[in-house]
């Protein structure tokens, strides 16, 4: 009951934290997908680039998020931009792995027939590989989105705002209501977004 009363009193605070968080996540996601798409194209055109890129970003991915945020502060300073850059870096491993294996995993008979008919490399990528790997691409985006929702909480430590700020202030001031609402909002957001995307995913052939 106390939780509900807290929410009634601090309705604006919670809503702002949620909206800020969603903004942060969406900006990071859009940039992540753009960068990963570009890197995937590089991987498609240059043999060996794919495994090299995946390897590099797997190392980045293995750094604990709080350490990576801390590492970036001397380079980029505090704030939202730094947070977004870190989130984008994290997402590259998840996205690249799904994009590259998706595009590369198209049935070899289809690729051979399309090549044999005289498609150029670009035509093969955009008319054959891309439309036939929508599912793994979508799965990659879903995983990245859900993980970004979680990691963005940590970004509050470097001043990115959002739900994470709710929790950090709660921790600093010993306000359990803030902490619990932070957890409810972030977990709820993650679960709902994941559920919706899984539903859409099932519709993709």
């Amino acid at each position: 009951m106390e939780l509900l009363r807290f929410a009634q009193r601090n309705y604006n605070l919670l809503l702002r934290a949620l909206v800020e968080h969603i903004q942060l996540v969406l900006i990071a996601l859009v940039l992540s997908v753009l960068l990963a798409g570009l890197l995937t194209l590089v991987a498609m055109y240059f043999r060996g680039a794919g495994s090299l890129l995946t390897y590099i970003f797997s190392i980045v991915y293995s750094i604990p998020s709080i350490a990576l945020f801390a590492l970036m502060i001397p380079v980029l300073g505090l704030g939202r931009t730094t947070a977004i850059i870190v989130l984008v870096l994290y997402n590259q491993f998840i996205l690249l792995r799904n994009f590259i294996t998706g595009l590369g995993g198209v049935d070899s008979g289809i690729v051979e027939a399309a090549t044999g008919m005289g498609m150029t490399k670009s035509q093969l990528i955009f008319r054959v590989r891309l439309p036939l790997s929508l599912k793994p691409i979508f799965v990659g985006i879903r995983l990245a989105l859900v993980s970004t929702i979680a990691i963005a909480i940590i970004a509050a430590f470097i001043g990115a705002g959002g739900i994470g700020l709710l929790i950090t202030i709660g921790l600093e001031t010993g306000n359990n209501n803030r902490i619990i609402w932070g957890v409810i909002l972030s977990a709820g957001l993650g679960i709902i977004v994941n559920g919706v995307l899984v539903f859409i995913e099932k519709k993709i052939k």
């Binding site: 008979g109 289809i110 051979e112 044999g116 008919m117 005289g118 054959v128 036939l132």
Partner: protein, 255 residues
């Protein structure tokens, strides 16, 4: 008579193999012939075929199509001029039958009306009712129907040369016989040069106007089916013919 395809001392090896996949092959094929290339797996028959549309390039030697050395022509352009059908068919599952047939004409920028008319005509040629099949997706077709579409697609831009890599390899015996008969009929009406790879000796001798027998990268014999059956050139060809005769005996024993 025009020479359609000429292989001049063509050799191609793959890393780690103990012998060349294709070893010093020279063949001269006339326009309008139906050439079958017969060999077991590892004989180099598919490698030879794939060098004809530059999916592979030879290590040495030349391949001349209608007087033109394909080494000097852009790979993509060579392929668009040549029909190509394979065992896995490789229809694009996100496109309808009509769209699949239209792939090469579209790459060649034909206008829409011409493409539609061509798809219609080709569906009739391969024995599928255009109205019923045009807007179907590959997943809604049987294996035999898919391969018919594969053939129609390979024929779409009216290529002078057709390369067929075991197109009936994955099709059941009854449908395969039908498709063989129809392919023979299609060839007869078109004046195109067919290069057809198979490991099935019956198929090779039935379809080919001449047959190339290959073993370990070399051509053992290149002759008409009759001459191959009557005068096998070496022990390998002999053993192939004998294996057929053995089967005949087996059948006679059953009936």
């Amino acid at each position: 008579m025009n020479t359609a395809i000429e292989f001049q001392h063509v050799t191609k090896g793959f890393k780690g193999a103990s012998y060349n996949a294709v070893n010093d092959v020279s063949l001269s094929i006339n326009e309008g012939e139906f050439i079958t290339i017969l060999g077991s797996s590892g004989s180099g028959k598919t490698t030879l075929l794939k060098m004809t549309n530059r999916l592979y390039d030879p290590d040495s030697g030349n391949i001349i199509l209608f007087g033109e050395n394909i080494r000097d022509v852009d790979k993509v352009l060579v392929r668009r001029r040549i029909g190509y059908a394979i065992q896995q068919v490789g229809l694009l599952p996100h496109m309808t039958v009509a769209q699949n047939i239209a792939i090469v004409p579209k790459l060649l920028k034909w206008d829409k009306k011409r493409i539609e008319a061509r798809a219609h005509e080709l569906l009739e040629l391969v024995g599928l009712e255009p109205k019923e099949f045009s807007s179907r997706y590959p997943a809604q077709l049987s294996g035999g129907q898919q391969q018919r579409i594969g053939l129609a697609r390979a024929l779409a831009a009216d290529p002078k040369i057709m390369l067929l890599d075991e197109p009936f390899g994955a099709i059941d015996a009854i449908n395969r016989l039908n498709l063989q008969d129809e392919l023979k009929r299609i060839h007869g009406g078109l004046k195109k040069t067919f290069l057809f790879v198979t490991h099935d000796i019956n198929e090779a001798l039935k379809l080919g106007t001449r047959v190339v027998v290959m073993n370990e990268g070399r051509v053992c014999q290149f002759d008409t089916p009759e001459n191959i059956a009557k005068n096998p050139a070496d022990d390998f060809v002999k053993s192939l013919i004998n294996s057929c005769r053995e089967q005949e005996k087996f059948w006679e024993g059953l009936t």
